[in-house]
Amino acid sequence: MASVELKDFVKLYGDHVAIKGIDLHVEDGEFCVFVGPSGCGKSTLLRMIAGLETISHGDLTIGGRVVNDVPSRDRGIAMVFQSYALYPHMSVRDNLGFGMRIAGQDRAEIDRRREGAAEMLGLGPYMDRRPSELSGGQRQRVAIGRAMVREPEVFLFDEPLSNLDAKLRNQTRLEIKRLQQQLGATVIFVTHDQIEAMTLADKIVVLQDGLVAQTGAPLDVFERPRNLFVAGFIGAPAMNILPAEIGEGPVVRALGLEIPVEDGVFDLPLPGTSVTLGIRSEDIVPDGHGQRPQTGADVSGAVKFSEVLGNESLIFFDVGGVELVSRMQRPRPVRAGETLSFRIDGTRIHLFDTETETTLRRD
Amino acid sequence: MRVSTLLASAAITAAGWTAASAQDVTFYYDKSGWDEGFAALIEGASEASGLDIAGQQQTPTDRYQAYIMSSIAGGATPAIFTWWNGKQLDSLVETGEIADLTALWDEAIEAGWFSEAERELFSVDGTPYAIPLNVARWPVLYNKDAFEAAGIEQPPQSWDELIAAADALKEAGYVPFNAPAVGGWMGFIWFSELMIRTDPDAFVGLTDGSVPYDGPEVQRAMEIWTDFYERGYFTDAREQDETRFMVNEEAAMYLIGEWTAGILANRGMEPGEQIGAFLLPPIDAETENSVIVEAAPIVFSADAMEEMPALMDAARYLMSPEAGNALGAANGIYSGNLMTDAPNAIVSDVNAIIAEDAPRSIVRWWEAVPPELQGDLVSQMNAFMLDPTEENAQRVMDDMQALNESYWAFQ
């Protein structure tokens, strides 16, 4: 198996700089997920690793070997394309077998792996159809199958689950994870689905505009976003972000409230300094729902609207002209205009330097 | 589909032929480059007949023939048009659409315009059906300077003298004969000439199926032809400019219709000054002297003649010395009328030779051969010129005879 190492990766499309200098190490057998907003360079990065785009600058090492100039076919990788990229003129069976066939595998082995993949992905009934006769989700599964049967050292997935329905997505996600563990393969997986990223990743790489915003284990990234971008990007709904000011003692002033802060967690600047405050929706707890935070501040506001999700509701409310969102456990019906009281959990707030947008949290 | 559309349009136009014409009579012809002459002829014919005659040129020749033939097949024979003599005239006359001109010819011969020999050229089974547009004899045109340079004092009178002259010319750096094969028709020139110089009767026999193309007569002509090529007497048959070697004085002699004198004159070789003419001598002393004659007839529709008796006056004019002189003055073409002035020195030279030697007139092979065989056979002769070897000569003779046989078998 193989580790993957990116050193000072840069990608230029003419004058447009798509990747601006990325260093990354993916351990052998690690499941690494790239997340980031649309256009941030996830696919580009993946395609550079796959050998489909030239590496404008920097080095790519796979399994200890620099492979900058090694053609795709010799990099020991398999890739699932965002657009499936199936061979339109071949049946599902031939799509799955193509790579092995041209590699000169023997028939029995081809059949064994192909049947295995077909069974795992539920492709059995479609083996003789052509891609044009499949639904989007079925095509995506063929694309995954095609990568699987090659049993490569490194798997590259470009948003492979985006077209599946929720149930199938969960199933396939599990299958991919299981497969990876079975094969012990190194996986690089692109998604912009948070849940996917969280559930699958050993390591999450958050990309922003051609650069790495943060790398870390899923919880790490969730709990300790290194900057405002990651804070806003990871977690749904997006974290409440509001201007604040450092008060006397370990408190933060915002919305006319004084929110006490745990000692030793942040490098607090001098009182009176403007900072940016981040609070996740689940950390604004409506009174009477869930556990009332001990340290914190009370706030009340008029409900603007709410989103009912079943096991919880998102309450959007107004405090002095600022809109906040709170997560209501075991929800009850809420009317617009109703005034509710909440408590903000002071131990779970995030603080960022307003200027640099980086976290004030101590490592 | 090209062909069918063409045929269809030809047939449609033919049907509307007479109705659509604003003129009394249209005179169709395919001879290009003689426009001035035709204009003069048509003007004179209109005046003489009081008819409103318009000229209409149609080229190329195959289209022209298609047009005339489909018109006749469609029952709308043009009133006046040019045609070819020999077998071409025979099959035209067979349609019954062409006017009998016996009375006119009687008049013309009476007046001394023509002799019986010319009448014969335009007759089918003894009845004349056409009048001459022009008559051209086929002499050898020669470069007088070249002859002088080679020390040849006078044109050869016998075969031996001819060979001697050719060798002398070679010695002096000339190719003796210009012999192009341009345009797919020139192959018959030397073939015919060698046939009439060895056996004129056999030549005539070739054209009516009584003599085979692979018999001893043809064998002999082909042997001489091959031998001439071996000796280097001929220019490269692949040259596409037919008079180039004459004009640039690489070649000294050119066996061709006398009308070529006009072409050479246009390219700066003055007939009489630089160019002379003689008839190729017979190979054996006992062979009858003869000359190949090419005659272009003008024919008239029998129906039109009946409807418009004045058309006969137009015909009479077209046969007259005035018409002959007009054509001669305009385009240097000899009408064959004995009372016209020779349009150039070559024509008068040939006139003099013929007056003196009285050779037998022989219809040119092209007209004498059945039209269905014409193209196929001449291709073979051209093929020989491009590969003038003994084996190829044999192959060409075999193929010609195969074609000839299958044609006559059907008649």
Binding site: G51, S72, R73, A85 | V3, S4, V182, G184, D399
Partner: protein, 314 residues
């Protein structure tokens, strides 16, 4: 998972559905007819009528001045097989068709592969396309002199081997047809290449990328991905080439000008020769019918193959 319930669709509903479909089709059919009527009229007048006329002619005895009203039965068709040099005509036509299909396609494909994506692709494209917009008669004339004994080809070849060459490419029975075919290739190469480039441009990039990742070499990608996906274009190009090959006329007419046996150069030229030089109208019409039948047959076969292939790719 339980299967969804399938409510029964009654026979009455099915019959109704069929009726509505047919009515809808008929409505749009009538409108379509209205729109294509003028075109149909033109086709009838200038294509159908001459074709039928020609077919009729081929059964008459019309040659030279007469025979238009005499029924000749299959005489003209039998005659074709009795022509002593018929085998030459067939061989030459076959050479034309095979040469016209394979060579421009092969060279066009090669060039298309070479040129794809190189800088100046557009310039090269127009350069190779240029001969196509010249009239075949003009092209023939140019090449007649290129092949002439003192022409460019001989000069170049002569310079290469260091001695004078005056080979008559267009005057030798075994080089004339290949030489003219090469000129045809020169002329049609461009359009073949452009059509193939268009066809290639229409092939999605990602199956090719997928094949790269799947381990395929360039040749394997061409063989297994590009070629099958290009097949529909290849068929269109082939049909155009076949028709051009069967009906090749102008080039031969001009370039074989100096060559004696024009009739043996292809069926189309032979047709013209018999019709206009020999004035065998009915026979010429019969050759035209045979030629058309051949063209239609081959094109039809190719079209069938094409739709099969297209179905596989779609």
């Amino acid at each position: 998972m339980s299967a969804p319930l399938n409510p029964p669709i009654s026979q009455a509903i099915r019959a109704e559905a069929r009726k509505r479909e047919i009515a809808a089709r008929r409505r749009s059919g009538r409108v379509a007819l209205l729109f294509i009527a003028p075109a149909l009229g033109l086709v009838a007048l200038f294509l159908l009528f001459p074709v039928v006329f020609n077919l009729g002619l081929s059964f008459t005895r019309w040659q030279r001045f007469s025979g238009l009203d005499e029924f000749g039965g299959l005489m003209n068709y039998q005659r074709l097989f009795m022509v002593p040099y018929f085998s030459d005509v067939v061989i030459n036509t076959a050479m034309w068709v095979i040469g016209a299909i394979t060579l421009p396609l092969a060279f066009g494909l090669g060039l298309a592969l070479l040129l794809r994506g190189v800088p100046g692709e557009g310039l090269f494209k127009s350069l190779f396309f240029l001969p196509r917009v010249l009239a075949p008669a003009a092209v023939g004339t140019i090449w007649f002199y290129v092949y002439a004994p003192d022409g460019v080809i001989n000069s170049l070849a002569g310079a290469a081997v260091g001695q004078d060459i005056d080979y008559g490419w267009l005057f030798e029975s075994h080089t004339i047809t290949p030489a003219i075919i090469m000129t045809f290739v020169w002329q049609t190469l461009g359009i073949n290449m452009v059509l193939l480039l268009l066809g290639m441009a229409a092939i999605p990039r990602d199956p090719i990328e997928a094949a790269h990742v799947d381990g395929a070499s360039s040749w394997q990608i061409f063989r297994h991905i590009v070629w099958p996906l290009l097949l529909p274009t290849v068929f269109v190009v082939t049909i155009l080439n076949v028709i051009a090959g069967f009906t090749a006329f102008d080039l031969i007419w001009v370039m074989a000008n100096g060559y004696p046996a024009q009739r043996s150069l292809s069926l189309a030229v032979y047709m013209y020769y018999e019709t206009f030089s020999n004035s065998r109208w009915a026979f010429g019409a019969a050759i035209a019918v045979m030629l058309s039948a051949l063209v239609i047959l081959v094109s039809w076969a190719l079209t069938v193959m094409q739709s099969r292939v297209e179905e596989r790719i779609r």
